[in-house]
C-alpha cells in the first residue's frame, strides 16, 4: 500500500462523507463547514497532482473567499437560514434515483473507457511557465480568457454591490 494511495483514500473518504453530510444536514452552518472540508480535500488532491499553485488558489479563493461569503450571508440572514426543511419524499426519492443512476452510469463509463495514465509525470507546473501561458499571446496561451475573466470579476463585483445595495 503506497503512501499516495493511503492519502488519496483518506482524502476521498473525508470528501465524500463531508459532501454527503453537507447536502443532507439540516443546519446550514454545519453544511457550510462541511463544504469547507470538501474544498480543502480538493486542494489536497491538487497538491497530490503536484499542481501546487492550483491547490493554493483553491484554498485562498474557495476556502478563504467563497466560504467566508457564505458565512457572511448566513449571518446576515440569520434565523431565516435555519429553515432547511427537506423536500417531499417523492422528489427526494426521484432525486436520489436520478443521482444514483447518473453516478452508476458515469462510473461505468469511466471504468470502461480505459484512460492511459502512463503520461503522468510528477513534475508539476513551473510558475513561470504558467505565468507565460496566462499572459502569452501564442498558441496555447490564454491572455484573452484571462482578461475576460478579469472583466467578469469586475462586472460581478459591481453587480453584487448593485444588487445587495439597500434601496
Amino acid at each position: 500500500m503506497d503512501i499516495n494511495m493511503i492519502i488519496f483514500a483518506g482524502l476521498a473518504i473525508v470528501m465524500i462523507v463531508s459532501a454527503l453530510f453537507a447536502v443532507t444536514s439540516s443546519k446550514i452552518m454545519r453544511a457550510t463547514t462541511l463544504l469547507l472540508f470538501v474544498l480543502f480535500g480538493t486542494a489536497g488532491l491538487y497538491f497530490m497532482l503536484h499542481y501546487n499553485f492550483l491547490g493554493a488558489v483553491q484554498i485562498t479563493v474557495y476556502a478563504g473567499g467563497i466560504v467566508v461569503l457564505f458565512i457572511f450571508a448566513i449571518l446576515l440572514i440569520g434565523k431565516g437560514s435555519v429553515d432547511v426543511t427537506q423536500t417531499s419524499i417523492r422528489r427526494y426519492l426521484a432525486g436520489m434515483a436520478t443521482a444514483l443512476t447518473g453516478m452508476a452510469l458515469t462510473i461505468y463509463l469511466i471504468l470502461n473507457t480505459g484512460f492511459a495514465s502512463d503520461k503522468f509525470t510528477a513534475s508539476g507546473v513551473e510558475m513561470k511557465e504558467l505565468g507565460m501561458a496566462l499572459m502569452g499571446t501564442d498558441k496555447f496561451n490564454y491572455i484573452l480568457p484571462f482578461e475576460a475573466m478579469s472583466i467578469l470579476l469586475l462586472a460581478c463585483t459591481v453587480g453584487a454591490i448593485m444588487i445587495a445595495r439597500k434601496k
Binding site: D2, F8, M15, I16, A19, A22, V23, T24, V38, L39, T42, L45, M48, Y51, V57, Q58, V61, Y62, G65, I66, L69, F70, A73, I74, L76, I77, G80, S81, D83, T85, T87, R91, A94, G95, T98, A99, G102, M103, T106, I110, L111, F115, A116, S117, K119, F120, V125, E129, L130, A133, L134, F140, Y142, P145, M149, L152, L153, C156, I163, A164
Partner: protein, 103 residues
C-alpha cells in the same frame, strides 16, 4: 505509485452527483448554492486530472480549473447578493416562497 486516473474521476463523479442530489432535494437557496459549489468543484477536479494524466505538456485543464475557480467566485458573489436581496424583500429564502418570477 501513481494513483490511477479512474479513481480520481470516480471521486469527482461521486462528488458531482452528491451535488446533484443536493440540488434536487434542498429547499433553501444557500443550500442550493452549496450543492452547486460541490458540482463545480467536481468539475474542476476533472479538468485538473485530465490535464495531469492526458496532456501534461499543455496547460489547458489547469488553466480551465483556475478560471473555473474564478467563475465560481464571481457566481457565488452575485448569488449571495441576490439571496440577501431576496431575503430583504420577502424575509425568506425558502424556494417555495419565490414565486413572483414565475408568472
Amino acid at each position: 505509485m501513481i494513483i490511477p486516473a479512474e479513481y480520481l474521476l470516480i471521486l469527482s463523479a461521486v462528488l458531482f452527483f452528491i451535488g446533484v442530489f443536493g440540488f434536487f432535494t434542498r429547499r433553501n437557496l444557500v443550500s442550493l448554492l452549496i450543492s452547486t459549489e460541490l458540482m463545480l468543484n467536481a468539475v474542476d477536479i476533472n479538468f485538473a486530472v485530465f490535464n495531469a494524466y492526458c496532456q501534461p505538456q499543455h496547460l489547458e485543464g489547469y488553466i480551465f480549473s483556475l478560471f473555473g475557480i474564478g467563475v465560481a467566485a464571481a457566481e457565488t458573489a452575485v448569488a449571495i447578493a441576490i439571496i440577501i436581496n431576496v431575503y430583504r424583500n420577502i424575509h425568506s429564502i425558502h424556494i417555495k416562497k419565490l414565486k413572483n418570477l414565475k408568472h
